[in-house]
Symmetry: C2
Subunit: 118 residues, 2 copies
Amino acid sequence: MATTLPLDDVTARRPALREPMDAAAAVALARTLKALADPARLRLLSLIAAQEGGEACVCDLTAPLGLSQPTVSHHLKVLVDAGLLTRDKRGVWAFFALIPGALDSLAEALVRHTTPVA
Amino acid sequence: MATTLPLDDVTARRPALREPMDAAAAVALARTLKALADPARLRLLSLIAAQEGGEACVCDLTAPLGLSQPTVSHHLKVLVDAGLLTRDKRGVWAFFALIPGALDSLAEALVRHTTPVA
DNA sequence: CCCAGGGATCGACGGTTGTCAATATCCGAC
DNA sequence: GTCGGATATTGACAACCGTCGATCCCTGGG
């Protein structure tokens, strides 16, 4: 519908068998991956996932990581802002839990954009 | 025989239903994710995967990204060092191709370590 | 109202990163 | 051997990031 003649299509010059990721999608994907690309944050996600009930408060996470409380709070904020964790404040404590399917859809998008066509 | 009684086991106090990611595994996973957490590198992987034959040389990748040749070369080196791309120099040209299964196993490891137990 | 304690924010510091221009290296053609 | 073109490397610079100590905020209990 959009393209009138295949001969004028620039994509016909080089064998781009599939549309590559556009800049906006790449920026969005990279932003989420940046939130994951840190040892402390990966361990935080793993620790929370290993907890019974799937949630944990900051006081439970500081000791296993060997990091200060402000640093742990910072990492948790990054993960929440990236859409990977929820933050639920109950009383004095703040409970963090994984957002179901967030990591799965991320992994799926990553593999989908980088699967060879041939 | 370190722990004599289960009652003395510190892991029995908190409900760690599964062993969380250890520090070494977190560092290794983060190193690979850091290589992916960049828009230019994501687009490079996508561009290479979209090429017929699954490989591309630097001269094919500079223009679509709008980056200088040294910068593209640098990003490709990062991806090769991370074990995501192969570099095959044929004559004057250097052809880069995805390592099959590298991204899949990465995605699998990511999801495996962060799947809630409950 | 005041206190105690869990958590968030601020300010600062060292280290890392993405980018480019300039240059070096390598290979095929002549 | 010399030249041209495709990549790689170097050096430099600005921006960003992880970490901490200090401090502030907020909630529940007395």
